[in-house]
């Protein structure tokens, strides 16, 4: 008995360690890491080292919990701004896309296998969702700089499409195991109703749970070490409760993660770090368990069929479904193609493939094996080629800034300031002796291991480490100063604004021309006076004043410290929204109105999304 504890611990930890080490290899070669995890599970399993593990229910249980943790973390890490940018196309893919993919795949499976209709669609549902872990990892690890809207669409899609596939799979398993004859019409209605209910309850519970988490974190003064455990546990409680009342627990944790992660609550950075870790562990465990459970020796007989199905999924089902779903949104053809290609299947599909076995279906094991091979093929074919495909399609864009060494710390009691540490890059504007705006002045400079007061440090040198307290409006501009090799030219739009205005003109003129928001009594001031007033009576190079939709920037001051050139930026560096509401009712109304207007104006063309607010 006691010996057993050590043996199991040893075997388990050995596998986790092997997986952790393999991540080093994966980062170096860009191999789909998850494939390695899966491989280690397979190696250790029945056909490899011979660890006997054949408990479908246990695998499913472990996998579900792990998935809930991963989804909470991916919600937590999704910024509201990227959600707004990409939510409509991503949600279209995550709902209709999943159903279409399952449908196409099911029809093809029915044609080439001996499965009946229900089993074919069950198989389709199992492999219908893309895998968040795989997509996030490959887009980030591959250091692929692609257009933000495309990246966000893919990430949000993969984070939010699992619940639908899960729902469909379970619905089909229940139908088949009930064995009753079904009316197609009744079936469809039942599925739609059940779906709406699961999603509705899930979203509602998630919003509520997210708020609760925020409240707990802000009110309870828990020990910082305990706090992350507390939060993840509340998320799992939420998962359990929602599932028990027939809502989708996965939707609930994802939504709760979104709400909590975007609330600007205290300790967000600490939580993020902890969840990154726990989410890795969850992935490793999930893949290991699923790998252990599989028996590759059973694969050989079904290999041709399974590969045919995989190729159909990759080259026909997913591209067709994606093109249809993205029709109403303006994506370039290459972008649609890329989104189709990043239809990586992963752990969720394998996890779902356990459902037929647990449900006691006659073909359960066969379905599992086919799904497993489909995932393997997808990870191999698509996972390994994302980079080359993106390059081929011409979607790679040059990185926005040079290498950057940045540590974000959390400041207690401050929602809108942070302490950033930068390593001054060789060739960056400050290292070349450029002027440093006052909002970018370091509080501390570390040079060759010695801490210097900024006034003693003199001119900043390359490889200096600087610590800067900064309002969260500025980090992107700081990146430009400290990390890019590009010099700051006078026509640098991001830094100085696209246009210039004469500081001696009246503020009311910019308010008339651009809708600048002025306070009472400011309309009669000159632009220079207005800026001076807003800046507390003293203006310096690169000071910025936000006036609603625009921002004025001091381009230069004269010898007497008077503003003599002003830039006007149409894309102010926005404050992160602090309200966890996704879209307000007003915004939804505006969007609908805009949609309708565009549809009327141009029946063939479709609404487009606001240009990326931070595009540069």
């Amino acid at each position: 008995m006691f010996e057993g504890v050590y043996l199991v611990t040893l075997a388990g930890t050995a596998m986790v360690l092997a997986a952790a080490f393999s991540s080093l290899i994966a980062f170096r070669f860009g191999a789909p890491l998850l494939l390695l995890f899966l491989g280690i599970g397979l190696l250790a399993g029945q056909d490899g080292l011979g660890i006997p593990f054949d408990n479908a229910s246990a695998s499913y249980f472990i996998g579900s919990i792990a998935l809930a943790v991963i989804l909470f973390d991916s919600g937590f890490g999704t910024a509201l701004s990227s959600l707004r940018l990409a939510a409509p196309p991503a949600l279209s893919l995550a709902t209709i896309g999943v159903i279409l993919t399952a449908g196409f795949f099911g029809a093809f499976a029915f044609a080439i296998t001996d499965f009946d209709w229900l089993e074919s669609f069950l198989l389709g549902s199992i492999v219908a969702s893309t895998d968040a872990a795989a997509v996030f990892f490959l887009l980030r690890a591959g250091n692929l700089h692609i257009r933000e809207r495309v990246r966000n669409t893919l990430e949000i899609e993969s984070g939010s499409n699992d619940p639908i596939a899960i729902f469909l799979t379970i619905a089909f398993v229940e139908l088949i195991s009930a064995g009753a004859a079904v009316e197609p019409g009744e079936l469809a209605i039942g599925i739609v109703l059940g779906f709406l209910r699961e999603m509705g309850v899930g979203v509602f519970a998630g919003l509520l749970g997210g708020r609760l988490i925020v409240m707990f974190v802000n009110r309870l003064k828990l020990d910082p070490g305990l706090l992350p455990i507390f939060v993840i546990t509340v998320a799992l409680v939420l998962f359990g409760i929602t599932g028990a009342v027939h809502g989708s627990g996965f939707v609930a944790v994802y939504t709760a993660g979104l709400v909590a992660g975007n609330s600007g609550m205290r300790s967000t950075a600490t939580l993020k770090r902890f969840q990154d870790g726990i989410s890795w562990l969850a992935q490793i465990i999930m893949f290991l368990v699923l790998g252990l459970f599989a028996t590759p020796s059973q694969f050989i007989s079904i290999l041709p069929v399974a590969i045919a199905l995989s190729l159909f999924l990759i080259f026909i089902a997913r591209p067709v479904a994606v093109s249809l779903c993205l029709l109403p949104f303006r994506f370039a053809r290459a972008e649609t193609a890329f989104i189709s290609w990043v239809g990586l299947r992963g752990a969720v599909s394998i996890l779902l493939a356990l459902a037929p076995i647990i449900g006691g279906l006659e073909n359960g094991r066969l379905l599992f094996n086919i799904a497993f091979i489909v995932v393997l093929v997808s990870l191999l074919v698509q996972g390994w080629t994302i980079g080359p495909v993106a390059r081929r399609l011409g979607l790679i864009i040059p990185p926005r800034s040079g290498p950057l060494d940045k540590v974000e710390l959390e400041l207690p009691g401050s929602a809108h300031h942070e302490l950033l540490a930068y390593r001054v890059a060789r060739g960056s504007p400050v290292a070349r002796g450029g002027r440093i705006p006052r909002w970018a002045r370091p509080s501390l400079v570390i040079r060759e291991g010695r801490s210097l007061k900024p006034q003693d440090a003199g001119r900043l040198l390359a490889d200096d480490l600087v610590y800067i307290f900064v309002s969260d409006r500025y980090p992107r501009l700081l990146d430009r100063l400290f990390a890019t090799k590009v010099s700051l030219a006078a026509d640098d739009e991001e830094f100085f604004g696209a246009f210039t205005v004469d500081p001696d003109h009246l503020a009311s003129e910019i308010s008339a021309a651009y809708g600048a928001e002025l306070r009472e009594g400011e309309a009669d001031l000159t632009i220079a006076k207005l800026m001076l007033a807003r800046l507390g009576g003293h203006a310096e190079y690169a000071d910025r004043v936000q006036l609603g939709p625009i921002e004025l920037i001091v381009r230069d001051t004269d010898a007497k410290g008077e503003i003599d050139s002003v830039g006007l930026s149409l894309e102010p560096q926005e404050l992160a929204p602090s309200m966890p509401l996704l879209l307000t009712a007003g915004e939804i109304r505006d969007r609908l109105a805009r949609f309708v207007r565009r549809m009327r104006a141009k029946p063939a063309k479709t609404p487009d999304e606001p240009a990326p607010p931070d595009a540069a």
Binding site: A332, G394, A490, D491, A498, E571, P610, A615, A616
Partner: protein, 154 residues
Amino acid sequence: MDLSDLIDQKAIMPSLRANSKKQLLQLLAERAAEMTGLPEREVFDTILQRERLGSTGVGNGIAIPHGKLAGVKKITGLFARLEQPVEFEALDDQPVDLVFLLLAPEGAGADHLKALSRIARVLRDGDTVAKIRATADPAAIHSFLSETPASHAA
């Protein structure tokens, strides 16, 4: 937002001749008046008033004059490629040979600003600008303007 939403191929003047900033603005106003049905004077005054607030020459030979007008029905763009560059009091003191005029309805608000920043972004792309300078074919210019410059899109 795509620039092809803002500008029609008919609104492209591929080889305009102008001797001065004023004449250039007049020619643009004249063409804009034809397109929108507004009095030429009103268009001219609006863009001139904006120029007084600060030149819209954004550098590299590019200018983006703009203004809001009550009578304009929708955001309307006009593009001119000049045979000979003219002095425009631009930021970098370079004469201007590519001009994008943007007129917006009084109530356009955020859409107006978004359109402007989009235009600025497209015309900041060195490749796009070089391609436009190299041709006098309105259809080609229109398609270059409508392309999403990959390097600046994110």
